[in-house]
């Protein structure tokens, strides 16, 4: 069974077609990258996967749960992180994790918080208000929140945006280790092509709400005759055709 299965997913705002009949499936334990320029439909697709946004048409199944009818059962087994959605700034890191631990019904919550704090190097920060942390520390806290319920599906929206190269590399290495150890399925929206190339087993290229290409990073590089995904991205954005198709 696929961890994520999307069929004919469409979102229309009046005359604007934000997502146009998108189909894709993500196998369990795979990291999939959702790539596309601004306005390509990445955030809209993720918002529909999370149940924040109702599709105009189409069907989403996550871990076998139909998101239209049974979304809370799926939400309990997944989680989400985005630099554009904050955690309460005045609450300490531990309090924030406790809030989400209760919302997700995490058993042995204090032990889970201690475990995550040790893994993400947050132990010394647990008593600090979330608002007093650096961008890198906030990203680690956001990851801890996203992992509090040991999600089987993790949606990450630009997880390393605004991080310095060192911290960004730390987060990417950590995500690689975590996926390998937990078997978690990750869907990652990013503008960082090197990140996608490093982390993702599958890439979906979105443009104007449609999936215009897909495959493993190696397959895409071969198809477009390029050396890195950034060049592939530019080829697609600028309507240059794949080498294989030319």
């Amino acid at each position: 069974m696929d961890a994520i299965r999307v069929q004919g997913l469409t979102k229309r705002y009046g005359e604007t077609l934000a997502v146009d009949a998108v189909d894709f499936a993500v196998a369990p334990g795979i990291t999939t990258g959702l790539l596309g320029g601004n306005g390509a439909g990445k955030t809209t697709t993720i918002a529909m996967l999370l149940g924040l946004l109702l599709p105009t048409a189409g069907r989403i199944e996550i871990l076998g749960h139909d998101m239209a009818r049974d979304r809370f059962a799926a939400l309990a087994r997944m989680n989400f992180s985005s630099p554009y959605v904050a955690l309460p700034q005045r609450l300490s890191v531990a309090e924030n994790l406790r809030v989400y631990g209760h919302l997700y019904g995490v058993p042995c919550l204090e032990a889970r918080i201690a475990e995550l704090a040790a893994e993400l190097d947050l132990t010394d920060l647990l008593r600090r208000p979330a608002g007093a942390l650096s961008a890198g520390q906030k990203t680690r806290v956001a990851l801890a929140k996203a992992l509090i319920n040991r999600p089987e599906v993790l949606l990450l929206d630009e997880p390393t945006a605004s991080l310095d190269p060192d911290t960004g590399d730390w987060v990417r290495a950590w995500l690689e280790r975590y996926r390998a150890a937990s078997g978690c399925t990750i869907l990652l929206a990013s503008h960082n092509m090197a990140e996608v190339e490093r982390l993702c087993g599958q890439v979906l290229m979105l443009k104007r709400g449609r999936i215009v290409d897909r495959g493993s990073p190696a397959q895409l590089l071969a198809r477009y005759g390029r050396e890195d995904l950034e060049q592939v991205f530019l080829d697609i954005a600028r309507n240059r055709r794949a080498a294989a198709a030319a």
Partner: protein, 285 residues
């Protein structure tokens, strides 16, 4: 979680598990506000500030009027004034407590995380009701103590019936807050000002300080459609004649049920509309 077959009763263990899960999620939301207030004394002070200030102003006014009437203590009219003020604070603080707690999530840009958690919208409403009740207690209790200490006015001399008055005014505060939150879901932060002002617009029709009969005939149906007007008529009956007007209380509960149902439907509709429009992530803008 699989759905039960239509018409089949859910076994006891899954029901208990479901309720325990719901209680844990509701506690999560309550804990979030508890943690916020625990480390922010200005927020706690703000809860009690206006009720205490109002009590001082109305208390000294009541004492002045009583002195003018040649009374050593508070006259009946002065007691009606203070009783009205204190009871109306219950409705005001309940409404503001609910709506402002929702706004806290919006101000902290946290709604996205809340709405993608397994917390159901109905559980969020219950959590906000509990938080609003606690905020109301912290806000109104000092004003009541002040009324007793400074003006020898004890609102509990109304008797046990006061619990029913409180309950009705709290429920009214909650359905008004549900309406305000629905408007925020529809119009975003543009509707934020209503959190602080909307219930003041109900004051003239609620007959807080005067009987409904004082209102012009055209305004009376509006007043009688509000539970608060029946609560205050009931309060005056207790203070004036020592009589409990069960008919007024029945009207208040009935109207509250009706308006609360309307508030829940409006909230459910606006929540769905917000999911259709994609407003849940951009609601603070």
């Amino acid at each position: 979680m699989s759905a039960s077959p239509a018409g089949a009763a859910m076994p006891a263990a899954p029901v208990a598990g479901h309720l325990a899960g719901a209680a844990r999620r509701i506690w999560g939301l309550i804990y979030r506000h508890f943690a916020l207030y625990r480390r922010s004394w200005p927020r706690v002070l703000d809860l009690a500030y206006w009720p205490i200030l109002n009590m001082c102003i109305w208390g000294f006014t009541a004492r002045f009027l009583s002195a003018r009437a040649g009374s050593g203590g508070l006259t009946l009219a002065a007691s009606l004034l203070l009783g009205g003020m204190l009871l109306w604070e219950v409705a005001l603080r309940s409404q503001m407590g609910f709506a402002a707690s929702f706004m806290e999530e919006m101000w902290s840009r946290n709604l996205g995380h809340i709405f993608v958690s397994p917390l159901r919208p109905s559980e969020m409403v219950v959590g906000l009701i509990v938080v609003s009740f606690l905020r109301m207690l912290v806000g109104v209790a000092p004003a009541m103590a002040l009324a007793w200490g400074l003006y020898a006015f004890n609102v509990f001399t109304l008797g046990p019936i006061i619990v029913l008055f409180f309950a009705n005014l709290m429920i009214m505060g909650w359905w008004v807050a549900l309406g305000v939150v629905s408007l925020i879901l529809r119009h975003g932060a543009g509707a934020e000002g209503l959190v602080w002002s909307v219930l003041f617009g109900f004051t003239p029709f609620s007959a807080v300080f005067y009987p409904v009969s004082v209102l012009p005939a055209a305004m009376r149906p509006i007043a009688l459609a509000l539970p608060s007007a029946h609560v205050f008529e009931g309060m005056r009956a207790v203070l004036n004649q020592g009589v409990i007007r069960w008919d007024q209380l029945a009207w208040a509960f009935g109207l509250n049920l009706l308006w609360l149902g309307a508030g829940v439907l409006l909230f459910a509709r606006q929540f769905r509309q917000a999911r259709l429009r994609g407003a849940l992530l951009a609601i603070g803008e």
